[in-house]
């Protein structure tokens, strides 16, 4: 099995896979999909990039601290957004809130879009971490 063919095809097709993953995350509240499946597609594209590159080069340019930092930051962002929604009573107390908008557009539904993105980021980096730790012993 030649490595050069796989590497060239991988360089061509990985941006399309990532675009599809971002599309599934962003249209989570309008059609089937959402944070979990979109995050899995993004994570699989990172695994493909790690599989088909040259063995002596470094990883995908994301260091270990950056991966763990992204996961912690998006988990805390989810907690802060949901905690604020608890304290303001779900819109009953009249504090500042993101408006609902018209159903059917992408920028609608209040907190749905930021929460979807946070869940997608967590799932993507978790799936990537599971692969690289089992294969190479370090991220």
């Amino acid at each position: 099995m030649k490595d050069e063919i796989l590497r060239e095809i991988g360089k061509f097709i990985i941006p399309f896979i990532q675009m599809f993953g971002i599309y599934v995350i962003f249209n989570g509240h309008l059609s089937p999909g959402g944070g979990f499946s979109g995050g899995t597609v993004l994570g699989v594209s990172l695994i493909l990039h790690r599989l088909t590159e040259e063995p002596h080069r470094a990883s995908t340019g994301i260091s270990e601290k950056a991966v763990i930092g992204f996961m912690c930051f998006s988990l805390m962002l989810y907690g802060i957004l949901k905690g604020y929604s608890f304290i303001s009573g779900g819109g009953e107390l009249g504090l500042l809130e993101i408006p609902l908008g018209t159903p059917g557009r992408i920028l609608s539904g209040g907190m749905l879009l930021p929460l979807n993105i946070a869940v997608g980021v967590i799932v993507c980096f978790t799936i990537y971490t599971f692969y690289t730790l089992f294969d190479k012993g370090e991220i």
Partner: protein, 120 residues
Amino acid sequence: MERLITNYYETASIILFGIGFMTLLIHNNLIKKIIGMNIMDTSIFLFFIAKGYISGKEAPIIKGAYKGVEGYINPVPTALMLTGIVVAVSVTAFALALTIKVYDKYGTIELNEILEKGGD
């Protein structure tokens, strides 16, 4: 007894649970035991999601006009099982990581050889 043939989704789910349970008990290899645990998890998801179907209604996504309450299936079991699928993936990953550490220490994955080599 003809209820078992009418509800064939739930019957298949319980038979899959039995197959997974027997795979967990019979084989000696640790990886096959983890596969059996994963089969048991998947059968429980099939059982729960089959409980939410109503014949003649459609999927719970509102496209076009709103059909009222009587036009969609029950969305609650599907929404609750999304969490379960993610937990099953996490447990499988952690079990595989522990298998790697067992292989590093004992040099084998077969359970009877591990018990003979000094496990307790």
